[in-house]
């Protein structure tokens, strides 16, 4: 299954979560440093959230 993190494609297994996609993309440390993950519609995502094929995730500074 392919998902996109900050427009970079990563391959993960079914059953894996947002956390796995971030680890695979090398951006998990950004979350530890207070950034957050959002979907393509701007909604914040929990790290244990399920992924779907083609999903777009953006790691960025928290919305205020």
């Amino acid at each position: 299954m392919k998902v996109y993190v900050n427009q970079k494609s990563v391959d993960v297994l079914p059953g894996m979560t947002v956390k796995h996609a971030l680890m695979s993309s090398g951006l998990f440390k950004e979350i530890e440093a207070s950034k957050k993950a959002y979907d393509e519609w701007g909604n914040e995502l929990g790290l244990d959230g399920a992924l779907s094929d083609g999903m777009k995730i953006y790691v960025k500074n928290c919305k205020t």
């Binding site: 297994l13 894996m16 796995h20 680890m23 979350i31 979907d39 909604n43």
Partner: protein
């Protein structure tokens, strides 16, 4: 002047019309949670200093909001797996709490299957609320939908769960079950419910992107209360005439959706998420008592003796050499996944276990991370490359140092990185660089954790995943049980064997 008078009359007319319309309407409230994974106590989410969640505070807020208008409390799934608090009691604790909170209905999530069908049936029979699963065939305990009357409004609630359940839990947990298309299922029941309900709610555990898709494809859904993607939808999203809501995860918020209904139509809505955080004196007493009761039991279960170690199990030296504890865990993983070999990172083994009685908490201290077993096909060449990576920083005692099962190898720490590994044998035979072997590992390494790339490359080249004969099949991935933590697999193994005596077997030999 005449024009001004006409405008004024129109405004008055509209005002009176709206007032009259609302006077004839009914207001109801939907309270909702999803993906609780049973975080009963407040916690600080990663990267945040704010304590959020806590079941007694969530229950208290739900009770407060219920008093304001006729309400339903809904769960959009994934309640019974996750935290130790749920896992140690196979979710009996969760159902007791949900009963205490007076949930009105829930839909199954994919993780509700993680303890197997017999446990699931037991939990459903303990629940004082209906459990939905309209697109699950083969489990009679589920209802496809229910109809509830609230403030004169007939609400139909249809429950659907992701069709991908078999891809994310152990095959035995879903044996004999069929997960049919949620779109077709929703269409079927909306047709069946025509004339029987004023408002149609789909309680969904398919994820926000799929909820959007469902709203676009299936007409007649008024509200989708979602889960699965752990999406924090701060205001209801409108797709056509369907509203979609979802309340993030872990009870950090409570979803609130107020609907104004007239003549079977929603004529007004307001939705938001109520942040849940600890506030002294605001705990709900009923749930607090249940939490306390099970907390004491958690301590008892963690202290439970599950077997005996005939010698010390070494978790200290896992970053610089083979240890008996590393071998023990790697062997269990190979056995569980029926792989040829296991390759894990020593850094995942956090402490030792002393000779003598082994308790649940000892295993949990050794394996504190929420990791699960994955088995992937790698070529002999890729395995050797992975081993090279594993020993590439042995001088720094980094966590990447491997612990293995089913294979032996020698390495020279004095040679340059990338050329250290020698004489790799798999089940007694020299490794064949072109042959594929099934390699068990954990999900952390599978996505490139500790710098391991081989597994990620295999996943990348694996084509579509599907369930064949009850097993998830990908071209390269043959096992993935995201519903069962590795530490619980180890606990179960020790319980079965009672006495354990793992040894160092020269699987990893340092040469100088």
């Amino acid at each position: 002047m005449k024009k001004l008078f006409t405008v004024g009359l129109n405004v008055l007319f509209i005002f009176l019309f709206i007032t009259f319309a609302y006077a004839q309407s009914s207001e109801i409230r939907i309270l909702h949670v999803n993906d609780f994974h049973w975080f009963v106590e407040p916690y600080k989410p990663l990267g945040s200093d704010e304590l959020l969640g806590g079941i007694p505070y969530l229950a208290s807020k739900a009770n407060e909001l219920r008093k304001e208008k006729p309400s339903l409390l809904l769960s959009a799934g994934d309640m019974i797996q996750g935290d130790n608090w749920a896992n140690l009691f196979l979710a009996e604790s969760v159902i007791e709490l949900m009963n205490g909170m007076r949930f009105d209905v829930m839909v199954l999530g994919n993780h509700e299957f993680d303890f197997g069908q017999e446990i699931l049936k037991k939990r459903i029979s303990e629940a004082r609320f209906p459990v939905l699963g309209a697109n699950v065939e083969g489990l009679d305990y589920l209802k496809p939908y229910i109809i509830r009357e609230l403030n004169g409004i007939r609400l139909a609630l249809i429950g659907i769960v992701t069709e991908d359940v078999p891809l994310s839990t152990h095959p035995r947990n879903v044996a004999g079950l069929r997960f049919i298309s949620h779109t077709e299922t929703a269409e079927k029941y909306i047709k069946e419910l025509k004339g029987k309900a004023d408002v149609v709610v789909v309680l969904s555990h398919i994820g926000f992107p799929a909820d959007r898709d469902l709203a676009e494809k299936v007409k007649g859904i008024d509200v989708i209360v979602g889960g699965h993607s752990h999406t924090k939808i701060t205001k209801p999203v409108s797709i056509g005439s369907t509203l979609i809501v979802q309340a993030w995860e872990h009870g950090k918020v409570l979803g609130v959706l107020d609907l104004t209904v007239k003549d079977g139509k929603i004529i007004g809505f307001e939705g938001h998420l109520e942040k849940i955080k600890p506030q002294k004196g605001k705990e709900d007493r009923v749930t607090l008592a249940i939490v306390k009761k099970y907390k004491e039991r958690v301590d008892a279960v963690l202290n439970e003796s599950i077997g005996e170690a005939e010698m010390d199990l070494d978790g200290e030296n896992v970053r610089k050499g083979e240890t008996n504890l590393g071998n023990f865990i790697a062997d269990i993983m190979r056995r569980a996944s029926m792989a040829d070999v296991t390759l894990i990172n020593g850094g995942g083994v956090r402490t030792s276990i002393k000779k003598g009685e082994v308790r649940v908490k000892d295993v949990y201290s050794v394996l504190p991370f929420d990791n699960y077993i994955v088995a992937i096909k790698l070529t002999g060449k890729q395995i050797k490359e992975a081993l090279e990576h594993g020993v590439s920083a042995v001088e720094d005692e980094e966590g990447r140092f491997p612990q293995v099962s089913g294979l032996t190898f020698k390495y020279s720490p004095t040679e340059k990185r990338g050329s250290r590994v020698k004489e790799v044998y798999i089940v007694g035979k020299p490794i064949d660089p072109d042959r594929t072997y099934i390699v068990a590992t954990n999900d952390f390494l599978a996505v490139g954790g500790d710098g391991y790339k081989a597994f990620g490359e295999a996943i990348k080249s694996s084509r579509d995943f599907s369930v064949i004969g009850g097993m998830m099949k990908g071209e390269k991935v043959i096992y993935s049980d995201s519903g069962r933590w590795l530490r619980d697999v180890v606990v179960e193994y020790i319980k079965e064997k009672k006495r354990i005596a793992p040894a160092i077997e020269d699987r990893i030999i340092e040469i100088r």
